[in-house]
């Protein structure tokens, strides 16, 4: 049984049928990537999994437990954390306060402190700026903060929505290295990306999304060689 099983979900925005029967699986310990063009429904899929949107049809289970009925705020307790698209840091809070919000649902003060050190170890830049107001961080730093904040909730499954968006190539590499490092330490990752090449090079498996439907799925290195993928997402003719 896979850790996360999404079965035939349909999500709507009012009358707009955004997800038209998506099914996917994420196994324990994997990095799975979800690639697709703008407007394909990647963000919608992540928001549906994290409970912010409710599917009109279909089921989502986490370790066998049905979670598609649960409100978003309860999913944190089940081990799901999200790094939202566009980062979504609490702009008026300081870096440290943001990170503490990530551990909001936990009460173990001592462990939280050590987790904070862990995140600062991953992102030394955040440590330097722990008192700075988050809204004034650079884009890359905000991305680090959003990632760090998600890690503060000690997730077993991390949902990331375009962590490379708007970042310089060098920072993108840094972020992807970090994702791999987090994964090696035992966190399962579902990664939504525009940057298909990078995503496929760190992921184990991938899904290709097109106008609300999965059109292709395979091992990451196979997808990388797939002619349609190459043509559509990797810019290879």
């Amino acid at each position: 049984m896979a850790m996360l099983e999404v079965h035939d979900i349909h999500t709507y925005y009012g009358n707009i049928h955004a997800l038209k029967g998506i099914s996917l699986e994420v196994n324990q310990g994997e990095i799975v990537t979800l690639i697709g063009a703008n407007g394909a429904g990647k963000t919608t899929t992540l928001r549906t999994i994290s409970g912010l949107l409710r599917p009109r049809q279909g089921t989502i289970t986490l370790n066998g437990e049905l979670i598609s009925e649960l409100p978003a705020h309860e999913l944190v307790y089940k081990g799901i954390a999200m790094v939202p698209e566009g980062r979504g840091v609490f702009a008026k809070m300081s870096v440290q306060e943001n990170l503490e919000m990530g551990a909001y649902h936990r009460n173990d003060k001592a462990v939280i402190t050590s987790d904070l050190e862990y995140v600062f170890g991953l992102f030394p830049r955040l440590k330097e700026r722990r008192r700075q107001v988050s809204g004034t961080l650079s884009g890359g730093e905000q991305q680090m903060l959003a990632t760090g904040r998600a890690l503060m909730s000690k997730p077993t499954l991390l949902l990331m929505d375009e962590p490379s968006m708007g970042l310089a190539p060098i920072l993108v590499e840094g972020i992807f290295d970090t994702i791999q490092a987090i994964n090696k330490e035992g966190t399962t990752v579902l990664l939504v990306e525009q940057n298909a090449l990078m995503a496929l090079s760190i992921a184990h498996r991938g899904y290709v999304l097109q106008t609300g439907q999965i059109v292709l799925t395979d091992k990451a290195d196979k997808l990388k060689k797939d002619p349609t993928v190459q043509k559509a997402y990797l810019g290879v003719d």
Partner: protein, 557 residues
């Protein structure tokens, strides 16, 4: 440095148009009737020539730097140009009487503007305007410590003179009526006293700044400083506490009533501050909960046949029920608007507030709520033989309630719930993804905010003895909202300062009642343009609005 004439003239013109406007609507004339210093300086002067001074000052400030002489020239030009529109009015009035259309452009105004001399007096008007503009320009040019000293001194004298009612009342109560005559003639400060006061305040500020500047900024002494700061705070607390406790004795009956009003709006403001300031939910129907509190108190305790309490309720029994009813309605009305954000929420709550008022007014509910006649004969509170029938005693009641509300507010702000509100205010989705139950968090904000408001309403009903639907109009919500914004959204001291500024001070200037809303509006506009974070902003909002200024310098890679 070159003088930018365009900027200079622009400030002059802004000052000039304001002066013209204030003259034409009759404000100058009305203000002129109130002497400030002897019979030489009146409030009309303050309004008119204060504007000239400001024009000169702002014009000079817009130039950032320059020699003192340049400042003087800029100020002079700004002041003179500021006089032009009003001077044109005077000339025009000479040829075409305008009183039929502009009621306030009358001979009294012209006499005031021309120093009682007719057209030749315009020369004097220009002279005075130019001089004041020049002084304003110079004022901007002098070194900071002098500027602070003189500025504070002038402001101090102006405040004492404008609020002479308050000062004379305090003097009378403390030292007897005779003491007033030492400092004041009728309502105006004696010229000598004004001068002494100006010098005293200026000297004090000057000395204090000097001492501060000379004290070595020792970093090592920081822990000591902390203790000293704490001691200072405690002393300040004790002084404020003592002042609050004896305020009614010093201030007398009328001013106690003003304080009661301030206290009532502090309560409203503290509640709304939770909803808007902490949780970021823009509620424009906030008065509804005030009405629930008041009507619950009224209907439970009234001695008329509207009484729903079967005669068992007195003020103290009804008070918690009034709060509870408000809280209940806070939750009830929170439900339908849970999914609404920002402007939509504002509109819906606005409608809701009006519905409540109209329901109270309606014939349909008249048998229960009294309709337009309201609820009469609400008894005053009484405990251990003490009857709260005077403004002074009610002041203590509202003070106690406000203190409780302030305490609860502070505790909430620093609590887990406070964090939840803050996170939700910034990004609802992300907050939810962090594990915050936003439904619960929102409802709690509505409920607690409504509770404070209901408490205020209940005390209000008992104070007045009768309540009418029209006491619960939109203006109350707007007032409460304005005062927390002016004071500083999310800031508890801000609520108090806001209530004093927007509720207390206007009560003290009742003679100018008709211009109250105008002044209010101008104050809000100026405030929002120059200090959008409010008088005493909360830490987080300062961050938002002045983010660029307090950011730590970024490192270069």
């Amino acid at each position: 440095m070159k003088i930018n004439w365009k900027t200079t003239l622009r400030y002059g013109l802004i000052g000039g148009v304001s002066a013209l406007y204030f003259s034409m609507i009759g404000m100058v004339e009305l203000f002129a009737g109130r002497n400030l210093i002897g019979t030489t300086v009146n409030m009309g002067h303050l309004l008119l020539y204060g504007g000239m001074l400001a024009a000169g000052l702002l014009a000079a400030r817009a130039h950032h730097q320059g020699k003192l002489a340049q400042h003087a020239v800029i100020g002079l030009v700004a002041g003179l140009s500021a006089a032009i529109p009003t001077a044109l009015l005077v000339i025009l009035h000479e040829f075409i009487p305008m009183q039929d259309v502009f009621v306030s452009v009358n001979n009294a105004l012209i006499r005031f503007l021309t120093f009682e001399r007719g057209l030749p007096g315009l020369l004097q008007f220009f002279l005075a305007s130019g001089l004041l503009g020049l002084l304003g320009g110079l004022f901007d040019g002098i070194p900071t410590d002098y500027r602070r000293a003189v500025g504070t001194g002038l402001a101090g004298v102006a405040i004492v003179a404008v609020f002479s009612d308050l000062v004379t009342q305090v003097l009378t109560n403390l030292f007897g009526r005779a003491s007033v005559n030492i400092f004041f003639v009728s309502k105006a400060l004696k010229p000598v006293i004004a001068l002494v006061l100006l010098l005293a305040i200026a000297a004090f500020v000057f000395m204090r700044d000097r001492r501060k500047a000379n004290a070595p900024a020792a970093v090592a002494a920081a822990p000591l400083d902390k203790r000293a700061a704490l001691r200072k705070q405690v002393i300040l607390f004790v002084i404020i506490g003592a002042l609050l406790a004896i305020a009614p004795w010093i201030l007398g009956s009328f001013l106690s009533q003003v304080l009661f009003e301030v206290g009532r709006f502090v309560l409203l403001g503290l509640g709304l501050n939770i909803v808007v300031g902490y949780a970021g939910l823009l509620d424009l129907g906030y008065v509804a909960f005030f009405a629930f509190g008041a009507y619950t108190m009224g209907l439970l305790t009234t001695t008329t046949n509207l009484n729903l309490g079967g005669g068992v309720f007195n003020f103290w029994l009804a008070l918690p029920i009034a709060v509870l009813v408000s809280v209940l309605f806070g939750v009830l009305l929170g439900f339908p608007v849970l999914s609404l954000r920002g402007d939509y929420l504002a509109i819906v709550t606005l409608g809701f507030g009006e519905i409540i008022r109209i329901l109270a007014l309606s014939d349909w509910l008249k048998p229960i709520m009294g309709g337009a006649q309201g609820v009469l004969f609400i008894p005053t509170p009484e405990i251990f033989g003490i009857v709260f029938d005077s403004p002074e005693s009610m002041y203590y009641l509202v003070l106690a309630a406000a203190l409780v509300a302030a305490f609860v507010s502070i505790r909430l702000r620093d609590s887990r719930l406070g964090r939840q509100w803050m996170a939700m205010r910034e990004d609802e989705d992300v907050a939810e993804a962090m594990g915050i139950n936003t439904v619960q968090t929102k409802l709690l904000a509505f409920a607690i905010g409504a509770g404070f408001s209901g408490l205020g309403g209940a005390i209000f009903a008992a104070r007045l003895g009768n309540i009418f639907p029209h006491s619960f109009n939109l203006l109350i919500s707007i007032n409460a909202l304005s005062l927390i914004i002016v004071g500083g959204l999310g800031s508890i001291p801000g609520v108090i300062v806001g209530a004093i500024a927007l509720v207390g001070l206007p009560e003290l200037l009742r003679e100018f009642q008709e211009y109250r809303l105008l002044i209010y509006g101008i104050l809000l506009i100026v405030m929002m343009l120059n200090r959008p974070e409010g008088f005493l902003p909360a830490e987080v909002f300062k961050r938002e609005l002045h983010a660029g200024e307090i950011t730590e310098p970024a490192e270069v890679e």
